[in-house]
Symmetry: C2
Subunit: 690 residues, 2 copies
């Protein structure tokens, strides 16, 4: 390998291109975009000049269209350069599906800015062997093919980067090739060992190279993780005798961390922890009037006690917060903060930087609005009034929390701020600390959500919550795995404090089970908002949002009591996160394959990871079969493309249900019965053969 990587791209470029400029004076000789062997449509790729993305350990499919004129065979490889300049070469295989696309999978293991470039070459030995096998077998051109074979073996033997023993051997074979012995010529052309030797180190001519392409590799948590959202003020909150509630604090909330960690989550995400304004504070259920003791929406950020860099006094001090972060770390949890770039009328920014807002002709500051509606507890920033000041302040806020140990930010409604700002902020923050992760909470039109991901957001909320039927889910999951995965990493939250879908409202407990199983297994990032495990399914009438929304009040919940009573989903969540931890195939985004079932409510998919990438030495395959109709029992046949995990169609293999422990012998067509009221989902591990 070392020898091969010594051929620098610079050298390649000069051999792959025809020296057109020497054609002579007076000739118009434009440079060509195509190389001698064309290398087109490289992937991973993001249109618009944005770098494609991956995370450490992610298996990335690399591909390129390559072909040449005539019948001669080619080879294709990709030269990958790590952030510290280390090169490696990887051979591609042709897909052989008429697309001229060559592919290979590579897992990148170092964070940072990589580059890759494809190389193609005429594969002279393979071309000779192929033609010789066809011709000599029918008595055509034996002397010529013998001579050509000897010629190219001698050429190969002259290549100094081949081991000496190999070079001697090739010379010896060349000497023995003789037109007088067609059978021997044929034997050499079809010799498996010789073919393997040249497959390993081809005899190349017409070497061509594509332009280098960028690839940004971020830390694994950017693309893998189980998230748990909660309101710290509710954790440890107590109802007082007067009926009001005493807020939880970081100290009391920290007591919830072992429980969250025990369920196997990786990230705890906190809604804003800053002082809350009192001007036009919202009351319970988003009313315009408050009762005494109403805590207000944490999204109405800022009061005389401080703004985006302050902590709500009810929650504690900056030191308490740092203790909370450390407590989380001890439990193996990372803390994510909410970044909601807006101000309550009481925010210090309003007095100190009125120019950051829109001042109306009557001298007042404009509220957030959706005309004619107004949101009078919030002033939106006007980024165009003082972009330099606002940019610098937002950067300061983020860097403040980074210094407090926070490296993940869930960004509230990023689509209501300039896209350009996010591109700048994320690049600037990541230039100093590439570990910082931003999750875009944008529920808007597809082009906007995709653009936010392309300009830098490491994670994105998605339409998952509104994809409930089998066909919707198949299309959605195929899309995130195969269409947008070069730049977009959806975090499949099953619910949020803003989202309680009709499917959950009216699907009963089965709905909660089904959605958790799919979210946890179909994508490497998913999330749960506290209360999901208690099946909280009552919505404000006519809305898709919890009634008595926690945004406007404290929620007192009895986690342990519910679990003891068997009324909690926590055991299932715990098991799902265990399964995710045990199965590296579930911690990948792009390895999703949908399979057929005869029932229009039975969703079937598999996640497969080749042995080369699991770290365990053997492949990992998980098949999920889900009845997505939470009101019925479904019996049907599922039809699997078992070739994905290397099983010949028709061959039996064992599967083990990771939820129940049941073991079955399956093959490519299998009967299933999924009872929404008992076990709506199979999560099946394909057992490795001995």
């Amino acid at each position: 390998m070392a020898a091969r990587t010594s051929t620098r791209p610079k050298a390649l470029r000069s051999t792959s291109q025809i020296p057109l400029r020497t054609l002579g004076a007076g000739l118009d000789t434009p440079e060509t975009l195509t190389s001698r062997i064309p290398l087109l449509s490289p992937t991973p790729h993001v249109p618009g000049g944005f770098a494609p993305k991956a995370v450490v350990g992610e298996v990335v499919p690399f591909g390129v269209v390559a072909f040449r004129e005539g019948h001669d065979l080619i080879g294709v490889q990709v030269r990958v350069t790590s952030p510290d300049g280390e090169e490696s070469l990887h051979r591609l295989r042709p897909r052989l599906d008429g697309t001229d696309r060559w592919v290979t999978d590579i897992a990148l293991d170092v964070q940072g800015s990589w580059t890759f470039r494809f190389e193609a070459f005429s594969d002279d030995f393979a071309t000779w062997a192929h033609a010789t096998a066809l011709k000599v077998a029918v008595g055509v051109d034996t002397p010529v093919m013998a001579a050509l074979g000897a010629e190219l073996l001698i050429r190969a033997a002259a290549e100094k980067d081949r081991p000496v023993a190999q070079r001697r051997r090739l010379t010896a074979i060349a000497a023995e090739l003789s037109a007088a012995d067609p059978e021997h010529v044929l034997a050499v052309a079809t010799d498996a060992e010789l073919s393997a030797l040249f497959a390993e180190r081809p005899l190349m001519t017409l070497r061509s190279a594509s332009a280098p392409q960028p690839l940004l590799v971020e830390r694994t948590a950017a693309g893998v993780g189980a998230w748990y959202e909660f309101f710290p003020r509710s954790e440890g909150a107590k109802r007082l005798k007067d009926g009001t509630v005493k807020s939880g604090t970081f100290r009391t909330a920290a007591k919830r961390l072992p429980g969250v960690a025990a369920m196997g989550f990786d990230v705890v995400y906190l809604v804003p922890i800053h002082p809350i304004g009192t001007s036009n504070r919202k009351g319970r259920n988003n009313t315009l009037t408050t009762e005494p003791g109403d805590p207000g929406s944490p999204y109405a950020i800022g009061s005389p006690e401080g703004g985006h860099d302050a902590i709500h006094p009810d929650l504690g001090t900056a030191a308490d917060f740092r203790s909370f972060v450390r407590a989380a770390q001890r439990e193996g949890l990372e803390v994510a903060l909410d970044l909601a770039l807006q101000a309550s009328p009481d925010h210090p920014w309003v007095a100190e930087h009125p120019e950051w807002f829109t001042t109306l002709p009557d001298g007042t500051i404009a509220y957030a609005e959706n005309p004619p509606k107004k949101y009078q507890d919030i002033y939106p920033l006007n980024f165009d009034n003082d972009p330099e000041g606002i940019y610098a302040e937002m950067l300061r806020v983020v860097q403040h929390w980074v210094r407090q140990g926070v490296k993940i930010f869930r960004v509230d409604n990023p689509h209501t701020k300039p896209l350009q700002f996010w591109e700048w902020l994320i690049a600037t923050v990541n230039a100093a600390d590439p570990d910082v992760i931003f999750l875009a909470e944008a529920f808007t039109r597809p082009a906007v959500m995709r653009a936010l991901a392309a300009v830098g957001f490491q994670q994105s909320y998605s339409y998952f919550t509104w994809r409930n039927t089998k066909s919707e889910l198949e299309e959605f999951l195929n899309g995130i795995a195969h269409d947008t995965s070069d730049y977009m990493r959806p975090n499949l939250f099953v619910n949020t404090h803003d989202i309680l879908t009709e499917y959950l409202q009216f699907g009963g407990r089965a709905a909660y089970r089904i959605r958790a199983c799919i979210a946890a297994t179909a994508a490497p990032i998913y999330g749960v908002y506290a209360g999901y495990e208690l099946f909280e399914n009552v919505a404000r009438p006519g809305s898709e949002e919890n009634i008595d929304n926690e945004k406007y009040e404290y929620k007192l919940r009895d986690w342990e009591g519910a679990e003891l009573a068997g009324d909690s989903l926590a055991p299932l969540l715990r098991r799902l996160n265990e399964i995710r931890r045990d199965h590296p195939a579930l911690r990948q985004l792009r390895n999703f394959s949908a399979h057929w079932s005869d029932d229009d409510a039975v969703l079937v998919y598999s996640k497969h990871l080749d042995a080369a990438f699991t770290g365990t030495g053997h492949a990992d395959t998980v098949i999920v079969v889900a009845n997505v109709d939470p009101h019925s029992v479904r019996e049907t046949t599922v039809h699997l493309d078992t070739t994905i995990w290397g099983v010949t169609p028709g061959e039996p293999f064992e599967v083990e249900d990771l939820l129940t422990g049941a073991v079955w012998t399956w093959s490519d067509h299998n009967y299933v019965r999924l009872d929404a009221f008992a076990e709506p989902v199979h999560i099946l591990k394909v057992r490795q053969r001995a």
Copy 2:
């Protein structure tokens, strides 16, 4: 218009981008790819850095994804710069389909290298009018909206590029706006004339611009034309008493030109006209032995009498050829030559430049082959042996024929030569003479055909001949009109000297009629190989190629006799070419829309061109309804999206069958009866309402 175009892109760029670099020392401030209002995914676009293409007069859909944060309205325009630097501005309209894509159609009227860049702006008047209409109507914020309105009207009045009268009027309206009169404020916000004034010349802020994109506009014949292929040696050939045939000449072939012109064709394409080798000359029906008098394949180019720059002595002299070209020009026909870059063993290149071929170890030159098959009448060039010499010679050959008056080349099997060579050759030839057109005769894998088009071929053969069912044709025609039209212009030949499909072999005369009608109306370029009009449908058994192929012998045909006997398709071809000439909608590639019919053999499509582009002052719409089953009568209902040509669904309109003259009143659902044995196709003109 002049005033607006005076705002140079340079000025735009400086106002659209936030001056990040001034944020202060020590800050890492990467440049952003996105502008203040993002402008993403511009079209026309070709991946890989190739310039998108159009032809003079082609209506090109321009589009871009543009959006901004919040509720403020935006506007989008495209600044198009002609090859001589003249700018024009065109406003885009939102598609309003949830894609955030803005579009407009532009026909470019000057040949050469254009550029275009999209611009977006915050549309301040529209934003104010929209919010004011919503708010003042419900009594919200009237004073503020009145003041904001006055402010922006005064701002508009200060813009020096507005006519003085307009500026005075805006000042006056501003002065009258008063919070005391909400109804007047509402009236101003909803005033149609004011809205039109600002639609024409918006009040803009946050102006943003995309990077300039290239667009190559080629002459109309690159994308529009009816081609007729023939073998000049057959035209005027005579059978002698000894049974052999005396070759036709350019003089006798010229006598065929008025007949071809009378059918309405634009281009006559001649198979190679060069001397033919005698070594291993192919006999009739591609046999390896010749009979005396066999003329050989014109693709076995080169003999002692000359090579690619010579004329076969049987056809006449260089002067005869030039006379032929002039005769064609007098008939309104352009001559296209075949460019088949290969040599017979007798080609002068073989002696003068043996290094341009592959010499085998036994000293012989390698024949063309597909192992183990060999084609012993042809030596392929080896472009890698002496690329500079070969490139220069091929350029010389092309330039030689350009000097003889030939500006169109049908390139034989370009996919058997390096792609890079074509990119270079076409760019080099076109740099000197942008009128030269190359048609790629490549029937190979899609990626290769697309790449040839992307690197420069002005036209491409296509899979049309093998797309025969309704669903195949719908997919194919949609693909060429909408997926690849930014770089690929398929020439829908109905047959060639190499292709006689089973559909034609076994579909009877109906098949010939159906395919001609579809080819002539579905795409702006189509072609016919001589003999099609005589329904020549007998193939070499087991092949999709004519028996007694003209490649290996003379064909003596009686065009006039067949037509007199009613056994010729010439009258239909004549009528089809007339219809194409009368209907500009048929001379466009991208305006194809498929419509539904209830019968799986009844193909329905329309071609529509807005009045702005027809040159006649009114729109042009043609609907084609074709029974593609040549063995049956089909009765069914066709369902039209009449909104494409501005007719409300359900409204009646008149159509006239351009083949029969029949007139019907149609609406969106219409009964049709198509008898393959009588009139298998309707070509309907939508009559303009008075």
